[in-house]
């Protein structure tokens, strides 16, 4: 079952949606919530679509059963997705096209939400009344919403809590009396462990924190901003230094400086900011400074669709910056994978002394999913600083520390500046083993070989695509990053309708896991690349790295995420 809350920006759609998610999650339901918002502070239609299920869900789903329309505009925009027997709850003052809804078999639940709010509290509690009405018609116990109200309004004082509770109770009772019997989609609480509601940005932040990230510099850019906000709000005792820099170039350079000094440092941005960071990415590559960059994609090119989703930066991220140097690109598909990528990226960056990019997008960054607390397992986190020399190691160094010493693996033992035996001057120019500038031919060749050998070593630990569904199938969906959820659910839908399908999901994108990918793709009967972009960048990457072509491509570039139903419809 899906519930949608629609309204103008500034009307509290997001906080109401999040509150409702909490109320359902606390009663044991699994939640997936997708946010759709515009690039403005006030006005314009926003919505929050909450999918509820007894089982874990990985994506939103197109059909909607209950709509909370805070504005008249919400109704025509979502009418096509409301199922027969579904309903729209709206304030009596909002004029909706009841005839059109009734023609489609959709029920109209007008409620005096503003009047209830004013009578029992104040007008700004209208959304509380709306949420209570929604819970009521679904048969969802009020107590869950009450607990959320207590927790969320606690900081505003007992009076605000009490008023909101009174408003909720009144709206709940009235909706029950007037409409509950007519609404046949019901929800029942389940016995379940307490679950978290977490989005991709938060999961990356938690992973990075656990992985030892203690420095983060960024410039605000949707949809990556909440990463630095989250880390900035941490208790001071955890010692995470964050810096809102003057621009993205400064942001990435500060992270490089911090990492060079010996901290685990990262930055986060979207495609536009990443474009500005491109030159510095090469600095980290050339001077072999570990660096983690989160790139949460949005619709491009240029300013594009600032608050919407796209997977248009894959080939850009793999190729950004002049010249050739090793880098690693990870594209987690779920919040669990975001958490893991958050700490794994630092291990890879330090092991191979190179930039590691976590490529996500607006859909993954800001969609909330319910997760058992145990799914974020800090005991799985390891901190591997690679060939970073300890003070004792440095003590044993001979005079004349060679920061870029030639080695079979290409990795040179790294010492942070600050020790008498590890004095080093390093350069973004081509340099010798000590870091001094040189254009000498043999050195250049050896230094390039040394750096690029690290890429071959990193390739060894890149993970092959993950299969979902049966080993063999008539149809194989091929996707990467955030498309995992909708594709996985599309596979389930196809199976339920008697089809034979599975999924190959790529999360380690560079160095591309060529051999395993080729082996798995060759075993497929019919492959379809499902990508949230125009030019099928994953399909092109596969062809470039394996010589194999996918049989068909499905693309979406309207800025809205694929739903499982969208994918199935495209395949028909």
């Amino acid at each position: 079952m899906s519930v949608l809350i629609g309204g103008d920006a500034g009307q509290g759609v997001e906080s109401s949606g999040a509150g409702l998610c909490q109320a359902f999650a606390r009663g044991g339901l699994q939640v997936f919530a997708m946010q759709d918002y515009r690039s403005r502070i006030r006005g314009g239609h926003n919505f929050y679509q909450i999918r509820l299920s007894e089982r874990a869900t990985y994506s939103h789903s197109s059909p909607v059963h209950l709509v909370l329309a805070l504005t008249a505009e919400t109704v025509p925009l979502h009418m096509d997705n409301i199922v027969e027997g579904g309903a729209v709850i709206y304030p009596e003052r909002v004029k909706v096209d009841e005839e059109a809804l009734k023609e489609r078999g959709v029920q109209c639940f007008a409620m005096p939400l503003v009047a209830i709010a004013e009578e029992h509290g104040s007008r700004i509690m209208t959304n509380t009344a709306a949420l209570a009405a929604a819970a009521s018609v679904c048969g969802w116990p009020l107590s869950y919403l009450e607990s959320v109200i207590r927790d969320n309004f606690q900081v505003k004082g007992a009076q605000v809590v009490e008023s909101n509770l009174a408003v909720a109770k009144a709206a709940y009772d009235q909706a029950q009396e007037r409409y509950a019997a007519a609404f046949s989609y019901k929800l029942k609480p389940l016995e379940a462990p307490p679950r978290m509601l977490i989005n991709g940005n938060q999961a990356i932040s938690l992973g990075a924190l656990a992985g030892g990230c203690r420095f983060m510099s960024a410039y605000p850019m949707t949809p990556a901003t909440s990463i630095i906000e989250w880390l900035s709000a941490l208790p001071r005792e955890l010692g995470v230094v964050t810096k809102h820099a003057e621009d993205e170039i400064a942001a990435v350079c500060m992270a490089i400086g911090a990492s060079y000094a010996g901290a685990r440092a990262m930055t986060a941005t979207s495609g536009g900011g990443f474009s500005l960071m491109a030159e510095a990415l090469g600095l980290a590559g050339m001077t072999e400074v570990p660096l983690v960059v989160v790139e949460a994609q949005r619709g491009g090119p240029s300013t594009g669709l600032p608050t919407r989703t796209e997977q248009g930066d894959l080939l850009f991220v793999i190729n950004a910056s002049q010249g050739e140097f090793p880098r690693v690109v990870l594209a987690p598909g779920t919040v669990e994978e975001c958490f893991e990528a958050g700490w794994r990226a630092f291990n890879l960056a330090e092991r191979y002394q190179c930039p590691v990019i976590i490529l996500s997008d607006q859909f993954l960054a800001s969609s909330l999913r319910s997760l058992d607390k145990g799914a974020i397992d800090f005991s799985t986190v390891s901190i591997d600083r690679g060939q970073l020399l300890s003070a004792e190691d440095v003590e044993r160094l001979e005079d004349g520390y060679r920061r870029f010493a030639f080695s079979d693996s290409g990795i040179s033992p790294r010492a942070a500046p600050g020790h008498p035996k590890a004095v080093q001057a390093i350069s973004s120019d081509e340099h010798d083993e000590y870091g001094h500038i040189t254009e000498e031919i043999t050195n250049r060749q050896r230094m390039m070989d040394k750096r690029m050998r690290k890429l071959a070593a990193a390739a060894e630990e890149m993970r092959p695509p993950k299969r979902y569904g049966p080993q063999e199938a008539d149809l194989t969906l091929v996707c990467w990053g955030s498309s995992y959820g909708p594709c996985r659910e599309a596979v389930d839908l196809l199976k339920a309708s008697g089809g034979s399908a599975n999924l190959l999901h790529f999360s380690d994108l560079w160095p591309f896991p060529e051999d395993e990918a080729a082996r798995m793709l060759k075993a497929c009967r019919h492959t379809v690349a499902v990508e949230q972009n125009y030019t099928s960048q994953m399909a092109r990457l596969i062809r470039m790295c394996t010589g194999l072509s996918v049989d068909r491509t499905v693309n979406k570039y309207d800025g809205r995420p694929f739903s499982p139903e969208d994918i199935v419809a495209e395949l028909r």
């Binding site: 924190l209 010692g239 600083r385 600050g418 004095v423």
Partner: protein, 293 residues
């Protein structure tokens, strides 16, 4: 108690590639003298530079150095300082690097006030790309990209630093390395951001602003009776003058950026990470999960 060091400590055998007579030699010498005077050992300092002739200076110094990319050394230096405030961080870059491509970082570093010293090798020309006008070239200055003479007004580093909130602003002349060393030492001693703008002839491409041209014009502010560098208004007037050298402005006790970062109160990211890698304290994160329930 500072133990002075021998300036030779910072010497290297790396071949210096600057033109004979270049003002950069004097800057290199003055920096070594200043570090020796302050007793800062090679491992205690981090020289961060950008790109350009002068930005090669760390290559010629026995000290930690990071030669980064054009215009960005202040940002890299800020990150390094925040990660390890124990390092003496000194930025060395040219006028194009600092006031042209890197100007955004320059202005924001002035108002941010980290404990970083910046030495700008200001020769009023782009030397490494062989002679184009720079932000500090005077109007009318003829170069390959300004064949009719530069149309823009020259950038005034001291005035802009003052307006942007810098807490230490000084000027030096590369014809007088001893004086420069004193000014640099004052800048490094200053708690907060310190700008040392060095007037430096480019003997190959700048035939106007020569050693002789400067010698006719520079005078030491320290010798001017009654000049008070803590007077912001007086500093503003001096910043417009041709050409006082020495400390133009200094305000002491202004809040230093890293001193105010709450997360640094119990240790730096570098020092804390060493502990973390030895014994990951992952249990302390468990309570954070409650924020999501």
């Amino acid at each position: 108690m500072v133990t002075k060091m021998d300036a030779k400590t910072y010497d290297t055998t790396v071949e210096v590639t600057w033109c004979a007579g270049c003002g950069d030699y004097a800057i290199l010498k003055a920096l070594k003298l200043a570090l020796a005077e302050l007793g800062i050992a090679p491992h205690q300092v981090l020289l961060v530079s950008g790109i350009g002739c002068g930005s090669k200076l760390p290559d010629y110094t026995n000290a930690n150095g990071y030669m980064t990319i054009h215009g960005r050394p202040l940002a890299v230096a800020t990150g390094a300082k925040l990660a390890n405030p124990e390092l003496h961080v000194i930025v060395v870059n040219g006028d194009g690097d600092s006031y042209g491509i890197g100007c955004n970082h320059f202005v924001h570093t002035c108002r941010r006030n980290p404990d970083i010293t910046q030495i700008v090798e200001n020769n009023q020309i782009y030397g490494l790309t062989k002679g184009q006008y720079s932000p500090t070239s005077d109007a009318g200055f003829i170069t390959t990209t300004s064949p009719d003479g530069a149309i823009e007004a020259a950038f005034n580093p001291a005035a802009i630093a003052l307006a942007a909130g810098a807490t230490f602003i000084a000027r030096a002349f590369s014809g007088d390395p001893k004086h420069m060393a004193g000014v640099i030492a004052q800048g490094v001693r200053h708690r907060g951001y310190a700008l040392v703008d060095v007037l430096q002839p480019c003997v190959t491409f700048n035939r106007v602003n020569t050693y002789a041209w400067y010698r006719e014009r520079v005078y030491d502010l320290a010798e001017e009776e009654g000049y008070d560098p803590s007077d912001r208004t007086a500093a503003w007037h001096k910043a417009q003058e041709c050409i006082p050298v020495g400390v133009i402005y200094q305000v002491e006790g202004a809040p230093v950026y890293e001193d105010q970062v709450r997360a640094l109160a119990d240790g730096s990211p570098v020092s804390r990470l060493l502990e973390l890698a030895r014994a990951p304290a992952l249990g302390q994160y468990e309570s954070l999960k409650e924020r999501f329930v």
